[in-house]
């Protein structure tokens, strides 16, 4: 503000001291043949794309339960030069600057919490880990497929969490640990069997990418729950292996998997639930259940 005053003072002074060709004009009037730009011109911001801006259109699925009508895809234009690289940055920018009613889940912004799972350009993924495609094509963002939408990009995950609960994802033992009061020892080889399963963050990208889960969401457990089931089945410290295998040895819970393998393609952490499900099926054969 002080600099503006000084600038105004300098303008008036310079105009007064320059030749009398110029008519005496107040500082606020915009005269185009003025030697120095007025502060009004200086403050003007060009809204259109000038040289050096990269506009990208995002088509985002919108549905409001307060005005329930058909869900729509709404267009938003973002300048990629003023936005972070990830889709989540774009969503936050839209929410901050253009439409505060845009609703989505997010938390850690680094791909470890699994909140921002959504369908970006046809593939499931985490918004905080998916880079914005730098091209002129439009990016379509919809919620996780075949789930009930609560609002905009937020879906109802209750069924998914209940299925996870139903496999009893905790250590179950019949005997007390070999050294009482101490941890149950596990060899490195046995611990290595859990690699590729314990990293699951329950983002639901895999389950909602499986067409078999789309058609039977309540009876088929889905790749995420089955991956965790395998994690507990393969854990050497857990003693209820046979019971766990029997619990899921069901026409619908396990065998709706037809190795479509969309899950492995969708997992943002690089896990392969399809492989784990194949492992369970093999165990079912050999366990003679």
């Amino acid at each position: 503000m002080a600099t503006n005053l000084i600038r105004r003072a300098i303008n008036i002074k310079s105009r007064v001291s320059s030749s009398t060709v110029y008519t005496e004009a107040p500082a606020s009037r915009m005269v185009l043949d003025r030697p120095y730009a007025s502060e009004v011109e200086a403050q003007k911001v060009e809204p259109k794309a000038t040289g050096g801006s990269n506009m990208k259109t995002f088509q985002i699925y919108r549905w409001n339960p307060e005005n329930p009508s058909k869900p729509q895809l709404q267009d938003f234009k973002i300048d990629l030069k003023e936005c972070g690289p990830m889709v989540l940055d774009a969503l936050i920018k839209i929410k901050n600057e253009m439409d505060p009613t845009l609703t989505f889940r997010r938390s850690c912004r680094e791909g470890i919490c699994g909140s921002c799972a959504m369908n970006i350009d046809g593939c499931n993924g985490l918004a905080c880990l998916t880079k914005i495609e730098s091209g002129a094509s439009e990016t379509t963002i919809t919620p996780l497929p075949h789930m009930f939408v609560i609002k905009d990009l937020v879906v109802d995950m209750t069924n998914f969490y209940n299925q996870y609960k139903s496999i009893e994802p905790w250590l179950k033992r019949k005997n007390p640990p070999p050294a009482a009061g101490k941890e149950i020892p596990q060899s490195r080889k046995d611990r290595a069997k859990l690699d590729g399963m314990y990293e699951c963050i329950l983002c639901a990208c895999c389950s909602t990418s499986c067409p078999s889960y789309w058609w039977n969401p309540e009876s088929y457990l889905g790749p995420a729950a089955l991956l965790h089931a395998n994690r507990w089945i393969s854990d050497s410290r857990d003693e209820y292996t046979k019971e766990r295998l029997d619990a899921i040895n069901d026409e619908f819970k396990l065998y709706r998997c037809h190795t479509i393998l969309n899950c492995a393609r969708a997992c943002p952490k690089g896990l392969n639930p399809g492989k784990q499900i194949q492992h369970i099926k093999q165990l079912q054969l050999t366990a003679g259940a």
Binding site: Y61, W63, P65, E66, P68, K70, P71, N119, D121, G122, C123, T140, T142, P143, L144, P145, H146, M147, F148, V149, I150, V155, D156, T158, N159, Y161, N162, S209, P211, W214, H258, T259, I260, L261, N262, A264, R265, C267, G270, L271, N272, K275, Q278, K281, Q282
Partner: protein, 193 residues
């Protein structure tokens, strides 16, 4: 303060089961709508009849339960708790299903898998239809001329359907062999990204 606590303890221990029994019909009434998945789940978590909880805890849980009921109820029923619809019955909004087939990008694995299913269905149809055609046609067409006419006009169809079903059979067989190899020998399992 102490007397009110004592009163609450008395009230809770007596009324706790019945109040939840009262709440439960309200909860399950809109179960026709898809909202009450959440309500059903919450009932499992809070088991008020377990004797291990102290009555004070039970009161807290009951209050939370009631609050949660309204919260979850207002998710599916528009703005019930916001003070608008005091006397009106809750509007049951059916939530939309997020798009799946129209939106999801076709993947190689998924396409191969669904083609396998389609080819299997096609081959089954061809099998059954050829049985019907060759063995039952005689008893359907009552005159020789209509029988002859049928076969005359569908002659070209046989060639086409034979080649298409040969394609389907070969694809189905190759997919079956790939499946066996993947399951037994772990050969050719697609790489994850």
């Amino acid at each position: 303060m102490a007397s009110s606590l004592a009163l609450k303890r008395l009230v809770s221990s007596n009324i706790l089961p019945s109040s939840l029994r009262v709440l439960r019909p309200i909860v399950t009434a809109p179960s026709a709508s898809r909202v009450s998945n959440t309500n059903a789940a919450r009932e499992d978590v809070f088991d008020p009849l377990s004797p291990t909880r102290s009555p004070n805890q039970a009161v807290n849980i009951r209050d939370q339960f009631m609050q949660n009921q309204f919260l979850s109820a207002s998710r599916g029923m528009a703005t019930l708790a916001k003070g608008e619809g005091e006397a009106s019955e809750p509007k049951n909004i059916l939530r939309p299903l997020s798009p799946h087939l129209p939106v999801y990008k076709p993947q190689l694995n998924a396409t191969l898998s669904i083609t396998n299913r389609i080819s299997g269905a096609f081959l089954t149809t061809v099998l059954l239809f050829s049985y019907l055609l060759s063995l039952k046609m005689g008893s359907v067409c009552l005159t020789y001329s209509s029988f002859y006419q049928f076969f005359f006009y569908s002659a070209k169809l046989f060639l086409v359907s034979a080649s298409v079903s040969a394609l389907a059979l070969s694809y189905h067989t190759y997919y079956g062999i790939r499946h066996l190899l993947m399951d037994l020998l772990k050969v050719g399992v697609p790489k994850v990204k």
